[in-house]
Symmetry: C2
Amino acid sequence: MNRVDREAKGDGTVGKALDVLDRVAAFGRPVRFAELLETSPFPKATLYRFVQTLTNQGMLSFDEERHTYAPGIRLVRLAHAAWEQSSLAPIARPHVDALARATRETVHLAQLDHAQVLYVDKRNAEEAVKMYSSAGKVGPAYCTGVGKAMMAFLPEPELQAVIDQQSFHAFTPATLITEAALREELAAIRARGYGFDREEHEAGIICVAAPILSASGQILGAISVTSTTARRTLNDLEQLAPKVRGAAERIAGEARHWRFPDKLKADQPATGTVQCQE
Amino acid sequence: MNRVDREAKGDGTVGKALDVLDRVAAFGRPVRFAELLETSPFPKATLYRFVQTLTNQGMLSFDEERHTYAPGIRLVRLAHAAWEQSSLAPIARPHVDALARATRETVHLAQLDHAQVLYVDKRNAEEAVKMYSSAGKVGPAYCTGVGKAMMAFLPEPELQAVIDQQSFHAFTPATLITEAALREELAAIRARGYGFDREEHEAGIICVAAPILSASGQILGAISVTSTTARRTLNDLEQLAPKVRGAAERIAGEARHWRFPDKLKADQPATGTVQCQE
DNA sequence: GGAATGAGTTCCAAATAATGAAACTCGGTT
DNA sequence: AACCGAGTTTCATTATTTGGAACTCATTCC
């Protein structure tokens, strides 16, 4: 029996330390100890020790000059493994590529994490790809194409939990800012099999998104094609819907025999994962 | 050549938990509990609790079907912040781009982490950039261009510590596999201001690398241009050395006024970092 | 000049959480 | 039916974490 305690706060010391890590990351910029203290539920001495521990573990980096903390590079190393093994990105890659080529528009691949949309891959039609500028980025679920596509296929108890965590901030006049409006939209997406973003997050930006569903109906992620109102109409995008759904289905198909792409256990020099790269 | 006993051992429960996380990541593939147990210094029950905690914190993901653990997606989210704030990548980006364009070869940007080379950015001359395929990847320090360039400028006590953690595995006949040979090479690099990889890590792959040094002489990272023996000779690469050094110096110059690119603190909706992206 | 403020750091007794040997469960084998 | 091995739970013991308060060391203010 697993504790279904969502937002599990009570994970002992480790949980609290990770909570501190999250808080630092949430700032989106280097933070001073005092700022962190203000926004944390921990007493000064306790917070201080956490920050110390995390820093000399490399999970936080400390700028001696400015006395600020930021998420540390050790995370980058760990995330590489996470991205390759626990995200849809590696198996979806060829299909994301193909969709980008076929549509000549920006393609996003996202998963749901902590009631937010987590972008795990992106193909940008024109400019050179900016690494990480996409993978790892988070966005709101209630007002993005991929977010709504995923929510639409969430079973009720979880859906409610996710909805309860949305901020319903009105980014644009088109943003759906009530639970009722959102639920209606989700029903439409469920019926249609794909959804749109009608400039709900950013003016001038529209998209079509399709859910990536496992054989058992579990939502794994979503894929979308994004454009601007200057270049395309919603109608244009709707024409692309079959392509988007096709990609989603193909990804879901491969996700079935996911994990253990190879179970080789080669003898490696002690230093860990060693891959060919200069 | 065995388990590098964590230098940071005295970090209490949190340190131990993060050690477990590292071990999972080091496998490079999903791991079963029993496998982890074999390679961990923790008793069964203790390891079990760590793995439980990490899993419901989202730092590990658990595959119910296969009963395996892998680094979790929460790491991807955290790493995004780390990469943007604590790595050289964002400030180096334009220079990495420029160097790639000027040389039409693959460019790598790396930092030193845990005595290993951590690639934080990459520009691939030909194929489309593969996200993360580079950022976050780690490699050996003693036999790569960037690794040696960084080691060459490490002050003695730290250098010894880093050398002691190298595995000195002979990837190719050209690999330097003794401390003496490596130290001689590092001296040459120090004198010259840049270094090579003469097929030491992978047959047919060569590179020139320059260190990125802060004003105070601290090593921040390294940048390299990589090619194949089929396309270029070491001599060709040496011609490129000034360009590589130039890029390194320009990056170092900007690294001075690093941090706080903006210290704006915009009012954000509750959901945390919200950036424009569909 | 010196008092007052504020950020960061250290102390330590009490409170709490981590530990790990052993026992247990469960699904599959022999 | 007994066995086995992987995974899970228990619980008394032990070690760590906790946090109020006091301290340091700058800077600012009067």
